[in-house]
């Protein structure tokens, strides 16, 4: 089983099309919608967990891209500003996927973008606002 967490952006002209269900029907993929919203400019934003055979996942993504959907992995959209993180650990208790956890060796907070599901809980819990989520910023600009 191959799993990826993706950020999908739907241009305004296709937000009314039922595209995601085709991933299950035509490509035998299992999806879990972690977040979905329509932005003020009518663009759609979705965070999706997609699992299945690797080949099917890549075919499914090809299909989405052909329909005009922009696809990025969550890891590309979320980063920690290491210059300002004070490694307190406040985020570690709130992170549901253990993407943020304390390294027992160094006692520093480790961030593993591959494990992040983009829930954004850490963003406001971080006392120094070190977590940066690009799709949130883009939302503010549209």
């Amino acid at each position: 089983m191959y799993t990826r967490i993706l950020v999908l952006r739907f241009p305004p002209e296709i937000t009314d099309k039922p595209l995601v269900c085709s991933l299950a029907r035509e490509f035998d993929l299992c999806f879990n919608i972690l977040k979905a919203e329509i932005l003020p400019g009518q663009e759609g934003l979705m965070v999706l967990e997609l699992s299945g055979h690797k080949k099917h996942v890549s075919e499914g993504l090809k299909y989405l891209k052909a329909q005009g959907v922009k696809v990025k992995s969550v890891a590309q959209e979320i980063r920690r500003n290491d210059d300002i993180c004070i490694h307190c650990g406040a985020c570690t208790g709130i992170c549901p996927t253990n993407a943020l956890k304390i390294d027992p060796e160094t006692q520093e907070v480790r961030f593993d973008p591959k494990m992040c599901k983009g829930c954004e809980l850490c963003v406001v819990v971080c006392p120094v606002r070190a977590m940066e989520i690009r799709f949130a910023k883009e939302k503010a600009l549209t």
Partner: protein, 391 residues
Amino acid sequence: MSKYAVQKSIQEINEKIKKGKAVVVTADEMVEIVREKGEKEAAKKVDVVTTGTFSPMCSSGAFINFGHSVPGIKASKVWLNGVPAYAGLAAVDIYIGCTEPREGDPLNKVYPGEFLYGGGHVIQDLVSGKPVLLEAEAYGTHCYPRKRLEKRVTLKDLPFAQLCNPRNAYQNYNCAVNVTTKTIYTYMGTLKPKMGNANYCTSGQLSPLFNDPYYKTIGMGTRIFLGGGIGYIVSHGTQHNPDVPRTEKGIPKRPSGTLMVLGDLKGMNSRYLVGVSILGYGCSLAVGIGVPIPILNEEIAMYTGVSDEDIVTQVVDYGLDYPMGKGKPLAEVTYKELRSGSIRVNGKEVPTSPLSSYARAKEIASKLKKWIEEGQFLLTEAQAPLPTVEG
């Protein structure tokens, strides 16, 4: 006949420091030394143990004199980057407190509030050399006729700026949980319902007052690492309460001693003074403090050998009990358990997370160790003791 087999004075230790011969270790290194060699040998070998803590510390702020302009002003209201400072001191003297939010902040009107900028952030900006907008209003007098002043100031321009924190370095603190069915937002961080997480906030075995639990070396006049520069303990802090239940080794099991500290802001570093925003609660300042403990005898060596497994704190419900002033703890846990990532409370496994940076506390203890080893930092004698209890 003295009651101690090993006896050293602070003067003797300072002579060693000046010659570059003092043996300095961090508090976590001392745990192993005492364990392996015993208290007496440890006291013979080690001269100074350095401690460290880095955590949001409310009850922090700075006294600032912003200098007279022409014509002069007797400021009655002052803002720094829009954050109100207390001006009822003298014509151009103010105090900026770290928990003061920027004027116009939505606070908790949109719940939970984010409190993105406040007095702690102003202090961080000043220390990092950024210009800060100072605005002042006055009613005008014959000697100080000006009624309004607006200027950009940097820390360098200010004639006087002293960090003066009335309550820092809490000796132990609660571990917070939430037993209610809704998420709550507290100064102990965001607490998930039904004991979904537990937050704690001291640096444990590295924390200054755990290493001198009866304040036998720490007192008024003790020179310390403060915010990356030099500071002093000037008094016991507000809410200082040494008279709480203690373990056999004298470690308080509840919040107890506190320190009031002072130091020149101009010598400090914004890596160790960081403005923080606590969701739904307010803003504050994370302060870095390191206190050197002179190993005068084997009793002090024993105290500085304290480890996370010797330190106990109470688990307190911040959903119902704490707001209603009910002190009954749900459980007692050690810092070793807290640091392991989870604790058991009433049969439930609860994940733990710190609010205090152990990594940076260690960095502070190591930095202070280096200063002392290099002869840049001498120890001072306490000029008066802090209020304490019999050990």
